[in-house]
Amino acid sequence: MSNQNGNTKPKLALYWASSCGGCEISVLAIHEKILDVAAAFDIVFWPCVMDFKVKDVEALADGEIDVCLFNGAIRNDENAEMAHLLRRKSKIMVAYGSCSMEGCIPGLANFTSRDAMMQFIYHNSPSTDNPDGVEPDPDWAFPEGPAPLPKFWNTVKTLDQVVPVEYYLPGCPPEAEWTETLVMAAAAALAGEGELPPPGSVIGNKDTVCDECPRTKNEKKIKRFYRPYEIVPDPDTCLLEQGIFCAGYATRSGCGALCPQVNMGCRGCYGPNEGVDDHGARLITGLASVLDAKTDEEVDAILDTLPDPAGYFYRFGLAHSMLHRTDVAHAPKRDGN
């Protein structure tokens, strides 16, 4: 496994598509272990941290990168182009973090359309000052020549909806121990000293956050929901029972139940547990099962205390859910992908 530099270390690439940058930082959350990573791998592409160009990647042979940690969702032509390029150059493609795995916050754009979003951002938002009504023009050209912008997609996609993916590392962002587990396992396997998990595996636990959460769980009947500032929850009892929305009951464990342990309901960033396709559907069905209501009116009254249910249930998983844009009459036509 040598390249033109005579370097025999396996090659590692890291890239961010549509994401906040937290995943990039999370890689550094492995602290001094990053030195082990640097020792084990030859980092060939990490634009956030080091000065690499796309042409550096293009210059590599297909499959020359051993492991690519790809974070961020795919929502424009550039994201997709990089996903395809890195896929072609990499042996192991890892959907790193919630955005690339499930769509995460960028995926919430799928509740609306590109046009409606552009309209809001460039024209209607209270803070917008755009007297000339300028919008990004993908085909923009200066007198000196064309300067195309990446075309914005109507639908945000996950990495595996665009290219095949070997492994998934959940979390917003992933917890450092799992990043370390994956990277060091890959290094060991590439050195012939271990085996990688079967392709398609999610690197994490299989069960839900409840499994790791030390709070006492009782039979549940919820009469109303509270936002965290509205009550001081009992520190030892299940938050959901106390009316604080906690997605832990349907969310993959592996984080150590960090949020519930500090009186915050689980947000659900680790996505669904093993074997579940649609995180939001399971959050809804589970929650609907414990509402203390007999009539439609009572159900409505309880749900009125849960602001933005779509955001609660699909905060992380919308792009990857079964809720595709099936309402053809109302969904804008897609192009650009």
Partner: protein, 671 residues
């Protein structure tokens, strides 16, 4: 899974399916579905030849899965499971596609659409069946005691059949006495037998039968368990009378100073006391205190009954008793309520004094009734010279109930006969159609025609006391179109009898819910099959008898009561029942113990195991309803035969584009 060999069989069901669905095209198309080894169509799959076709293919072609596209699984799932079993295939490796009720019958005018839908349904079944797993039924012993809910003639008949066969029966009756509506009647059509004379011996038998425990003035509060092993919680309301001491002598109600209108037994036409026995032949003979009316419960004074009771049987402090009974089967015979004639204001009941309901009239003509059997106007002295009987009150009327109440024609004819016999008054029957379908009924109608009873065909528009001429003054005038002569008529009469129809009990829905059975749109309990299984219900171990299942007369009620008993005896004599293996199971290794499912189970079959922090399903209690399967947020509860894979495969299958060749199916991915 990939190596499964599926046999697909499309049934013509004569013209029922083949008349609408192109069965040959469906069979031909289905042959290309994944894993399909053979795809055939046949005239009657349920016939022995059809079943043998399946058995033969299993043996010779080595089929590992079978799909029959025919009628509802309610009808023939068992049939084809049996065929699979005979050929050595686990019966749960079979799947039925309902292309009759779900395709040919509902899309009779759209042959092409019905054929496409049939293909989609077959595809769903084929996709699903490869995910099936072999399941084994679980045998559980049957508790031989039966509960009969309702002490009318249906319940009485059922209870006596079972008790005479040597099995214990627990009869629960809401009122203080058994007997039901039949005990209120004077004569029964068409033979004019005295109702009490034929009923009271049976009531007595129930009361005296060593195998029957009679719980009157009692109601079912809760039901748990499943066929063969129900636990029914019964609240026995406090009679305030110690039955061990009471002799039924009657001193108490003679001395009681409070007179109350008797809305139940006397249909509001007569009175009873605050402590009362509903009627002289009541079984049991013990009275009850109506605490709503009794002075003692209002003021703490009176105690007349207690003071005069020779056996000190009155106990004002007696409390309700709630007792659990273990029974193997339940027969619901909860009867009916009469349509409230006040709901038709134009007929004037409750406003015009001399408009009576049929039940009031039954009490009036009864020798033990409030008038001693004399037919009199509301004033209690005047005998009518003319009587109008209006049929179909609240029945066959879109405003109220669309159905025919089945008994009103005949009892109206009976009323006409009794009026003629006892008063010589002129009698008019206002009818839409005379329906006399059973044995001896049409003959009775002819007898009435000969007795000079008048019949006017048409629905009465209104009953009024607003006279338009001298002949109408002081009379009730029936305004009606006589459709046989095509003219409006106004007929003045002294008395009007409204032949009100039968309605489900006001709480039939709740009772159904308690026992896990449903009501039709009319509100009557739904039987398992309207023709072939009218006594059983969709819930194993719960049977229905009498009018609670639908309007019917006494002979039909008795037949159904006996029939339900026969069905129960069949279960008891087997000694054990096979429970469907369709149950929920929790993967304990992956259960996180969130306890969301714990409160969901309608059968209390889920326990939380504290030490392991997991939930567990008790397979004997689980009925496979799937509630917890849907609720489980981590999807670790699986419903056997309704697993996630099976259901999702079925959905994938039904969403197939039936107009493409099957081979193109894989291309349907683009979004």
């Amino acid at each position: 899974m990939a190596e499964e060999r599926v046999g697909v069989y499309i049934c013509h069901c004569g013209h029922n399916i083949a008349g609408t669905v192109d069965v040959e095209a469906v069979a031909e198309w289905a042959a290309d579905l994944p894993n399909v080894e053979v795809s055939r169509h046949y005239e009657f799959m349920c016939s022995s030849l059809g079943q043998e076709l399946v058995e033969e293919d299993i043996k010779t072609l080595g089929l590992t899965r079978v799909v029959v596209a025919a009628c509802s699984p309610h009808m023939h799932e068992r049939t084809f499971r049996g065929a699979c079993e005979r050929a050595g295939l686990n019966p749960y490796l079979f799947e039925m596609a309902n292309i009759r009720e779900h395709a040919s019958w509902v899309h009779a005018v759209d042959k092409e659409g019905a054929t496409e839908k049939a293909k989609a349904l077959v595809s769903a079944a084929v996709h699903r069946v490869v995910h099936h797993t072999p399941l084994e039924t679980m045998k559980v012993p049957v508790e031989p005691t039966t509960m009969v809910v309702g002490g009318g003639i249906a319940g009485i008949q059922a209870a006596l059949e079972l008790a005479d066969a040597g099995y214990k029966v627990i009869m629960v009756e809401r009122e203080p006495s058994i007997g039901g509506h039949m005990a209120q009647l004077d004569k029964t059509f068409p033979t004019l037998d005295c109702s009490a004379c034929i009923l009271t011996p049976k009531m007595f038998d129930v009361g005296a039968h060593p195998n029957i425990t009679m719980l009157t003035y009692s109601e079912v509060e809760a039901v748990e368990g499943y066929v063969g092993n129900f636990v029914v919680t019964v609240r026995q309301k406090a009679r305030k009378v110690i039955t061990d001491k009471c002799t039924g002598c009657g001193t108490c109600w003679e001395k009681c100073p409070i007179r109350v209108v008797d809305d139940v037994y006397e249909a509001g036409l007569g009175y009873r006391k605050a402590i009362y026995r509903p009627f002289p032949q009541a079984v049991p003979k013990y009275p009850v205190i109506d605490v709503e009316s009794c002075t003692y419960y209002k003021t703490g004074k009176c105690r007349a009954c207690q003071m005069f009771c020779p056996t000190e049987a009155i106990d004002f402090d007696q409390q309700d008793e709630v007792v659990d009974y273990k029974v193997g089967n339940v027969i619901l015979a909860t009867g009916y309520e009469q349509f409230d004639a006040r709901r038709i204001p134009e007929y004037g009941y409750g406003r015009l004094a001399n408009v009576f309901t049929s039940l009031e009239f039954e009490r009036m003509v009864n020798a033990t009734g409030p008038t001693g059997g004399k037919i009199m106007l509301r004033d209690g002295v005047t005998e009518p010279e003319s009587v109008a009987i209006i049929h179909c009150v609240g029945s066959r009327d879109r405003r109220y109930n669309q159905y025919c109440s089945a008994v009103c024609c005949m009892y109206s004819l009976k009323f006409a006969h009794l009026v003629k016999e006892r008063t010589g008054a002129e009698v008019y029957n206002f009818y839409m159609d005379i329906r006399t379908p059973a044995k001896g009924y049409e003959e009775f109608y002819h007898r009435l025609l000969e007795e000079g009873v008048r019949f006017v065909r048409g629905r009465v528009a209104k009953v009024t006391d607003a006279a338009r001429g001298p002949g109408e003054e002081g009379k009730l005038i029936i305004q009606c179109e006589d459709t046989l002569i095509g003219k409006q008529r106004r007929i003045p009469v002294d008395m009007v009898v409204l032949s009100a129809g039968m309605e489900p009990r006001h709480d039939a829905e709740e009772i159904g819910h308690l026992f896990g059975i449903s009501c039709s749109v009319d509100g009557f309990f739904i039987e398992r099959h309207p023709k072939l299984d009218p006594m059983a219900t969709m819930t194993d171990g719960i049977y229905v008898a009498g009018v609670c299942q639908g309007p019917k007369d006494i002979p039909a009620t008795v037949a159904q009561g006996a029939g339900a008993a026969a069905r129960v005896l069949g279960v008891i004599s087997q000694g054990e029942v096979a429970l469907e293996p369709i149950r929920a199971e929790i993967d304990e290794e992956h259960c996180s113990g969130c306890r969301i499912c714990n409160t969901m189970c309608p059968y209390s079959a889920i326990d939380y195991i504290e030490e392991l922090q997991v939930s567990r399903v008790n397979p004997a209690l689980c009925k496979g309803c799937g509630t917890c399967v849907a609720a489980c947020p981590s999807q670790v509860i699986t419903g056997a035969h309704y697993s996630y894979d099976q259901v999702m495969a079925q959905i994938d299958g039904i969403l197939i584009d039936v107009n493409r060749p099957v081979t193109a199916e894989a291309e349907v991915a683009a979004d």
